[in-house]
């Protein structure tokens, strides 16, 4: 199977992906979360100073078409392992945010051969509490205003004026929500088996959490994630909620840079 690398499109085993590519050097695979890829997000440029940033939109997100055979996070983990294999990319840094962190963790428990380091930013994907306690608030059952309040330190910055957006921008917003439901509906934002598999992650791993994350807290959820990955460190970033790359991109980038330079954080 061959892949055609272009500026905006990648094709991996028959699956078309819209992709943002920036910078030169070793591959940095950026896996977005529920919010999708914003090409204007400063963190992409900041990371591009350290390598070749590759930020695909998962099938169904952004402008990536739906893929009939892909409907689970497991499928996405294999898709991105295939992406790395097809171009024989090695020593790859994988960074995943929220739902993207879940994908990154699922990749790493399958195989770390091509990975150098793993950065999980507010990752979802594991089950910590009991059967009657949701670890993750149900975004599909809460009012959109409440969801914004939980996700952002400053919810006002996430308020969208639909009237000011183009049809294309609105379509991307709608598709991002639909694709999130496709991948995360049930089990809700987690794989019941993932936590017991995290011990298989043998590359240096950094967990980063927004200090003001009201969605999933570092002290409870982040700590459980850290404890399950051998040698993982957990850092918090001030001034950020659940999406530090949106609310504190410079601080997040600095934190990742120290980790890539070989410091523990």
């Amino acid at each position: 199977m061959t892949s055609n690398l272009s500026e905006h499109r990648l094709r991996v085993r028959g699956v078309d992906l819209e992709v943002v590519e920036r910078g030169q050097g070793p591959t940095i695979l950026w896996l977005h979360g529920e919010e999708g890829v914003d090409p204007g997000c400063p963190v992409l440029d900041l990371m591009a100073a350290h390598g070749r940033v590759l930020a695909p939109s998962h099938p169904g997100f952004g402008h990536s078409p739906d893929a009939a055979a892909i409907d689970t996070i497991d499928d996405l983990a294999y898709l991105y392992l295939d992406l790395l294999a097809e171009h024989d990319r090695r020593e790859v840094v994988v960074i995943g945010c929220s739902l993207g962190g879940w994908i990154a963790a699922e990749m790493a428990v399958k195989c770390t051969d091509r990975l150098a380091r793993l950065v999980l930013v507010g990752p979802l994907g594991i089950k910590v509490g009991d059967r009657e306690t949701r670890d993750i608030p149900d975004i599909f059952a809460l009012h959109p205003d409440e969801v914004r309040r939980l996700l952002y330190r400053d919810p006002s910055r996430a308020t969208v004026d639909y009237a000011a957006l183009t049809d294309d921008q609105l379509t991307v917003l709608a598709r991002n929500r639909e694709a999130t439901a496709l991948y995360a509906w049930e089990p809700y934002f987690h794989n019941p088996k993932l936590r017991q598999r995290l011990h298989r992650i043998t590359v240096p791993t950094l967990l980063v959490w927004g200090a003001d994350d009201r969605f999933v807290g570092a002290g409870y959820y982040g700590a459980a994630y850290r404890d399950a990955i051998p040698g993982a460190r957990l850092l918090t970033i001030d001034g950020a909620g659940h999406f530090p790359h949106v609310e504190a991109p410079a601080a997040l980038a600095a934190c990742i840079r120290r980790f890539l330079d070989g410091h523990d954080g």
């Binding site: 599909f140 059952a141 009237a163 999130t180 439901a181 509906w185």
Partner: protein, 382 residues
């Protein structure tokens, strides 16, 4: 034309809407008094029996976790009606099969009602309204794919008579499928399916099932029926008879227009009380992306704009409500009939909210005696 009486079996004795933010999904059931509920169940079954006595057919539907409808299992209430009635056709519209974990269980229940009623079941399959997603506990994306797989499995279960088969599909797995009883009707009960989108209408048209529209008004209904007919023409299939088309409206017939309007205003409780927050009206993936985008821009699909601040006049104008004296109601239905290219089934939403038993029966009687005979002449009976 055939007329079917249905009621949502609502529990209408609710607190001031200011006290709750949603009548669906999350309204605490402490507001439900089972003793009053029992009286209501019996009253509604009585009304269905009266409908049969008046020569009307019977329709039942189901919804979940909502005060607007206390039939979370259409099969259960239809089981009672199969025993308590003798001649009416019994329509379940319908089974929300995209939300069901076990289609084989649906096949069993429907076969049972069909046998119990000695072959009077008309079996509907529906996707379910958006508010059913949380209550139905199933993913809102790729629903129609799951819907059709469930349909295929149910029909195969109904029509396999020589021992078990196995099913290993994309959405459903089942070993040794071999239902007892099998349906009374051959090869199986008639199938009805609701449609709103062009694609759904085309899919139903291709199969020749009865397509049903709920409160879609003159233009919405015309579009759905049009897509159904168009698909059949494309495939060079026989032209569909009127009995392949059904339309559901709020209907109240009085001796005068004013009496009819008064009844209809009480039926509008169903629209007025439908207080539902956005996370339940627009689960991601339920509506086509283009529809969601249109909603973000402030548009409302079809008649839903009218449902937000319901008023009798506009609702009658677009054909969501048929109300007035017998001549008026006949004229309104005839207008719909002509506008949409004919339809063979009128689904009468004839009870809601505070329309009490006597008023409900009165409206039914007026319809059955004064309007129905003229409607029967509109098209061939199925």
């Amino acid at each position: 034309m055939r007329a079917w009486f249905f009621s949502e079996n609502a529990y209408h004795l609710l607190p001031d809407p200011k006290e709750y933010d949603s009548i669906r999904v999350k309204l605490p059931n402490r507001y439900y008094d089972p003793k009053i509920g029992a009286d209501l169940y019996h009253r509604f079954i009585d009304e269905w029996q009266i409908a049969e006595d008046l020569g009307l057919e019977i329709m039942v539907n189901e919804h979940h976790q909502t005060a607007t409808n206390l039939n979370p299992s259409a099969a259960v209430v239809m089981g009672a009606l199969a025993r308590d009635t003798r001649k009416a056709r019994l329509l379940i519209l319908g089974n929300p099969i995209a939300n069901r974990r076990e289609p084989v269980r649906v096949a069993e229940e429907m076969a049972m009602v069909d046998v119990y009623s000695r072959g009077r079941l008309e079996c509907g399959f529906v996707r379910g309204v958006p508010y059913e997603i949380s209550a139905g506990n199933h993913r809102p994306t790729r629903m129609m794919e799951r819907f059709w797989e469930a349909h295929d499995l149910i029909v195969k279960a109904w029509t396999s008579h020589d021992g078990p088969f196995n099913w290993e599909g994309k959405y459903f797995h089942h070993r040794e499928v071999n239902i007892w009883p099998r349906p009374y009707q051959e090869p199986h009960p008639p199938i009805w399916i609701t449609a709103l989108s062009p694609q759904s209408a085309r899919d139903v048209g291709e199969r020749g099932y009865v397509v049903a529209c709920f409160l879609t008004g003159l233009d919405g209904t015309k579009a759905v029926f049009g897509h159904y007919r168009e698909r059949r023409a494309e495939l060079k299939l026989p032209t569909a008879a009127p009995d392949r088309f059904a339309y559901a409206a709020l209907v109240y017939v009085g001796e005068s227009d004013e009496a009819g309007y008064a009844g209809a205003r009480k039926l509008m409780w169903y629209l007025e009380s439908n207080k539902v927050p956005p996370q339940f009206t627009s689960p991601p993936g339920y509506h086509p992306t283009a529809t969601t985008v249109n909603t973000m821009k402030g548009g409302s699909p079809g008649n839903f704009r009218l449902f937000q601040n319901p008023a009798l006049g506009p609702l009658m104008e677009v054909g969501v409500v048929f109300a007035g004296n017998p001549d008026s109601v006949y004229g309104q239905i005839k207008k719909m009939y002509d506008h949409v290219g004919g339809f063979g089934h009128l689904l009468i939403m004839g009870q809601a909210g505070f329309l009490d038993h006597d008023e409900t029966v009165k409206g039914m009687q007026m319809f059955a005696r004064e309007v129905y005979p003229r409607l029967k002449e509109l098209g061939p009976r199925a």
